[in-house]
Symmetry: C2
Subunit: 467 residues, 2 copies
């Protein structure tokens, strides 16, 4: 560290004496990155505030000293939205993990930004309630990060995105002003809803420091069904048939190849003997015998129509968990193969055509690549994973994947889809933003950024480059 | 009309030849106002575009000629958000009422801004689906207006606000730029969600010209329960007891006085003989025998605890409709008494205290005023109606109500509530915005307005005054 940096950090400590400041190389490595590995972390220092007031003091310091700030939650991001690669000061929320002000009649609870997703889920369960946003990184992701990326996950089809569970927000804008947004109200039509502007902004307008979250009643008697599908288009036929008669809590999808990796990984048995090119996993609340009968009648109907080749329904909770593993363990089982990940979406009805077009393009140009498809097909969200051939060099693989990206995003754009369904834009998807948002739209995004962060000190270079 | 105006209108006709222009005094009266009667309509003219391109041409014309524009939907607004009192050009959406692009697998449909709420509800029903946003003015309110005010209504507790049903929007900004927002995707995390900025903006950022709306499966076997409550706080006890075990589709509330007006209005019988100070109306889907049994067991429990004095459950659809009339006909039955309306909200748990404080203040200072309480208590939204004493002059009555307003909003602010839960701010609530949004927040609202409408031509003077 040079003298100027060292002096700056001394003044930072003096400006926010109650916050913790870290400068050890290990800490800089740890707090300077997320789950992406594309950028080398190089933060100035790490600061851990304990409350909203300290966050405000940090932002004021940053404005006065023209220091760029990067927010850091559980660092489980997949788009490098929380990576400090350019000497930024990292503001980490680990010391702000308080849960308070639970109200049983409002079914709300106040969380500081550093509350871990699982901590909130557990708190809800302890009150006989349920926080329904769930995904693989629930054990380490923090609420502030979830909200800044509007995290989705495996229950979106029934419960929506993180956005849908926010009753109120406390934020510190890039100008250093504290705003209390929406006052935790269910109904409040008094001008532009700034809450929804901060949710999904990837920390580029300011910091979310506290959130009042809504909880709901826990689901009852969840049943899991895994179906082997004859053809890709049958995913939609089956979805539509079930949705007309049941409220699904999940509708997931994976290819035979994807399941193959999970089975090879061990410990998870195949759902049935029949081989199918694609599989769907359905979950619903079996609140009565009648619901189970409806589900079974629909199954018969889908088999008769030739959409479904075989299927299995969970007989108990253990089996339900085993069936979920077929879907949930895919990422883990392919991790050793250095997968190149894309997180794309289209409107649900376009999924089959969209998927086959991308599949065809990638297979044609890269016959040596193994492609693994899975995703939240009930909401049009597909995870495209390209596995590195064992013999191929990592650099060559990623550079060839970048070429693939261009084609994939061309197809995304042609189908009016999104280049980032739930992972956000950060730095890795920044070059592709224009495939989903028009240049005119992006000019408005920039102007809004300017309103909240005129000095450009809050997470600069994420979402779009500074002008 | 003077020569300058007449010349301006000629040039407008030339600039947008495909749109219809109205200048007759009757039309100016009709299109220049909403359901409020506080401001005298005085529009320059009325223009009725047929598509988004024509709306863009109108905005361009307005920017070039510095003409203020006022959007006009079904004109059922209750906050004068769509009133043209200052020589504005009214842009009315009556000719843009096309419904298209229905997708069964996506459960979405595209609507032009002028589609009537009931038209969309009927369209959904024809497809075996359901559009759940519903309120008294569904027969004449237009979708563009619903979205611009984020309309709520009687099913919010289960289905949310209008905001929650928007898959995508086409808007023309105040700068005359067309934006396609969100591409109808379920999942799309690619930067600030401008869709949510336009929803509830009361047409001050630009015009919503088209919206892709989500539909859902229709509710099954709806049952209605009307309960007589011993005390105000019991509204919350009962709500909590039921919500723990059932998904309610509605939880409404009205006072004995409110019901008295409906009964006197004729045609609707009392729900039971027992008199109670307050009543709650609950609705839920009785999807199985077990659900009905749960509902009945909860009723017994509420009676035993002394919360509920008496109750009735609908035996068939006709009776369910009759029970709903007890709540739905309140507005109509008090209309002849020139009610002064307030639409306020707090978090649900504060409702009893909040309500008694306001009730006490109004009763103390205005013992000659009759106060009628009703509302969507399940989401903290209360309608406070003060009835004009028969002998009191209208002007005196409204001026005294304005004094009441100040006290009411002081109490709203103290409880962290909203001065407009679902009606919006428009002109009538504009002086009170600061009771719900801080001055700092309002400065950001103004800055955002500046981004989308730098010349201040789009619905000026609504929400806040031009600077």
């Amino acid at each position: 560290m040079n003298d100027a940096s060292s002096d700056l950090i001394d003044r930072l400590r003096a400006a926010v004496p109650e916050a913790r400041v870290l400068t050890e190389p290990d800490d800089l490595q740890t707090y300077g990155k997320d789950w992406t590995r594309q950028f080398e972390p190089r933060p100035l220092a790490i600061i851990l505030p304990r409350d909203t007031g300290q966050v405000q003091a940090i932002v004021n310091f940053a404005n006065e000293n023209k220091v760029a700030l990067v927010p850091s939650g559980g660092r489980t991001g997949l788009s490098a939205g929380a990576v400090a690669a350019n000497g930024e000061l990292v503001v980490a929320f680990d010391l702000m993990n308080n849960i308070s002000d639970f109200s049983a009649s409002d079914r709300t609870v106040k969380c500081q930004a550093g509350v871990i997703t699982e901590q909130l889920q557990q708190f809800a369960a302890d009150q006989g309630l349920y926080y329904p946003v769930d995904f693989a990184s629930a054990g380490s992701s923090q609420l502030g990060g979830n909200l800044s990326t509007n995290a989705g996950g495996i229950k979106v089809i029934r419960y929506g995105m993180s956005r849908d569970w926010v009753a109120g927000l406390t934020v510190v804008t890039g100008k250093g002003e504290i705003l209390e947004l929406n006052r935790d109200l269910v109904k409040n039509n008094t001008g532009y809803d700034l809450r929804h502007l901060f949710i999904g902004a990837e920390g580029t307008l300011g910091f979310i420091t506290e959130a009042t979250m809504r909880l709901t009643r826990p689901p009852e008697n969840l049943q899991v069904l895994v179906l082997g599908l004859a053809d890709l288009t049958n995913t939609m036929d089956v979805l539509q048939a079930y949705q007309q008669k049941l409220d699904l809590t999940a509708y997931e999808f994976f290819s035979h190849q994807a399941m193959g990796h999970v089975l090879a990984h061990g410990d998870t048995p195949a759902p049935f003997e029949t081989e199918a090119p694609y599989y769907a996993l359905l979950e619903f609340e079996a609140t009565s015998e009648a619901v189970m009968e409806t589900a079974m009648a629909l199954f018969e109907e889908c088999v008769e129509k030739g959409w479904v080749l075989d299927g299995v329904v969970s007989q108990n909770e253990t089996q339900a968990r085993k069936l979920w593993q077929l879907r949930e363990r895919i990422s883990e089982s392919i991790a050793p193969r250095t997968p190149y990940k894309n997180d794309i979406s289209v409107v649900v009805s376009r999924v089959p055509l969209f998927l086959s077009e991308i599949d065809a393009v990638v297979r044609e140009h890269y016959p040596d690549f193994e492609i693994i498809w899975f995703g939240h097909i009930g909401d049009g969200n597909l995870h495209l994973n390209i596995l590195k051939p064992e013999t191929m060099d990592k650099t060559e693989f990623f550079s060839r994947c970048a070429t693939v990206n261009q084609w994939v995003f061309d197809i995304v754009a042609r189908h009016g889809g999104s280049i980032s369904a739930e992972h956000g834009v950060g730095m890795t998807k920044k070059p592709y933003l224009r495939f989903t948002r028009s240049e005119t739209e992006i000019s408005y995004l920039r102007a809004i950024k300017q309103v909240f962060d005129p000095n450009g000190i809050i997470n600069p270079g994420k979402l779009f480059d500074p002008e």
